[in-house]
Symmetry: C2
Subunit: 121 residues, 2 copies
């Protein structure tokens, strides 16, 4: 049975939005509290339009929301899509934990061989 | 002090590679064990060159490795980059847990108000 090629989905949109260090830095700033676009742009050597473009990507993927009420339209972090990323990656935890266990076993083996070698000298 | 715009990094490459449902499905298949490209391509309604393109993206970002020894060059999952994704997203856990707590509080409030309303009838 053929699996049809899945259409781009919410999780893909979230991951694509996160695949940029500036956008991740913006989320990092918003984790400290909601703020204006001008304030967000300040630490970056970027123009306001460039920052606005990044904010639009984050907003479309639901990672931030912007206030409608105030003149300064504060940006705030929306954590729902991040929870979905955490949920997805969690399925693979056993793989990295396994590989660290194997590395740990290997290092212990190397150590015990080194000790044997020392004793022979 | 201006933060210089960060250059594309390993985490960005990983997230971009994961931002595709076919590539995530390939990782899901490899979680069940290493396999050949032909076997990997079978459940997808895609050509071998199309699958190979996805595998190259996964390989470049370190999410899979391919055997050099055997003729069939088996693909296997490499979990290191996934661990980095989990580590990054973990910093935001308190945000989605908080928002679920708030939703829970809100639902309890609604329930108690509904009960009060019932009693008045």
């Amino acid at each position: 049975m053929a699996i049809r090629r899945p259409v781009p989905d919410q999780l893909s949109a979230t991951l694509a939005a996160l695949a940029d260090p500036t956008r991740r830095a913006i989320l990092g700033r918003l984790a400290r509290g909601e703020t204006s676009v001008t304030e967000l742009a300040r630490p970056f050597a970027m123009s306001l339009p460039a920052i606005s473009k990044h904010l639009k990507v984050l907003e479309r993927s639901g990672l931030i929301a912007r206030g409608r009420e105030a003149q300064w339209r504060p940006c705030r972090l929306e954590a729902g899509p991040l929870k979905d990323v955490a949920g997805w990656v969690e399925h693979y935890r056993r793989f990295w934990e396994d590989s660290f266990d194997r590395l740990d076993d290997y290092l212990k083996k190397l150590q015990s061989e080194a000790k044997k070698h020392e004793r022979k000298k």
